[in-house]
Symmetry: C2
Subunit: 96 residues, 2 copies
């Protein structure tokens, strides 16, 4: 079985790693941290959400909308599995 494509995409892998080490992060934090365009970030998060790897919460910060993201337990497990799989490829014990 192969690598989880949802996670394998570099931008999403970074998002997952950031979220795995923090309680939650909002859109602008991810935006400036990752250096993506807004559209791009939006699409990637959408994908993570539809896989139930992150949970999205929409609130207001004052009068402006603010969206924040948390990794789910499913997402955390998938992320761990991803690294394990990658390790096995790295050992190249993958093919022997």
């Amino acid at each position: 079985m192969g690598l989880d494509r949802i996670i394998h995409e570099p931008a999403r892998l970074r998002i997952m790693m950031i979220l795995s080490g923090i309680e939650s992060a909002d859109f602008n934090f991810l935006l400036s941290t990752l250096g993506l365009t807004r559209g791009n970030l939006s699409r990637h998060i959408e994908k993570l959400e539809s896989a139930s790897y992150v949970k999205v919460s929409k609130t207001f910060k004052g009068k402006l909308p603010s969206t924040s993201y948390k990794i789910t337990s499913k997402g955390a497990k998938a992320l761990e599995k991803y690294w394990n799989k990658l390790d096995s490829i790295r050992q190249a014990g993958d093919f022997k």
Copy 2:
């Protein structure tokens, strides 16, 4: 700077890891080891070759054509860089 997309693709990452641990490998060895279709393997190798990450040698084994592949020094360096980059993402020191 991002991950090398040439290497990042799982099938190609596996090819590179196999080639990095062996003198050379021929088409059928890679085929059965990786479990890809012929077409798919052909395209992936083409990509690695055009990046000068692998060198292709066409010979004959008896009367049948046989193609074998070696990793280049450029390829080996790119592979090492790839893992380093991935490690930095994994430490998530990537964003702090």
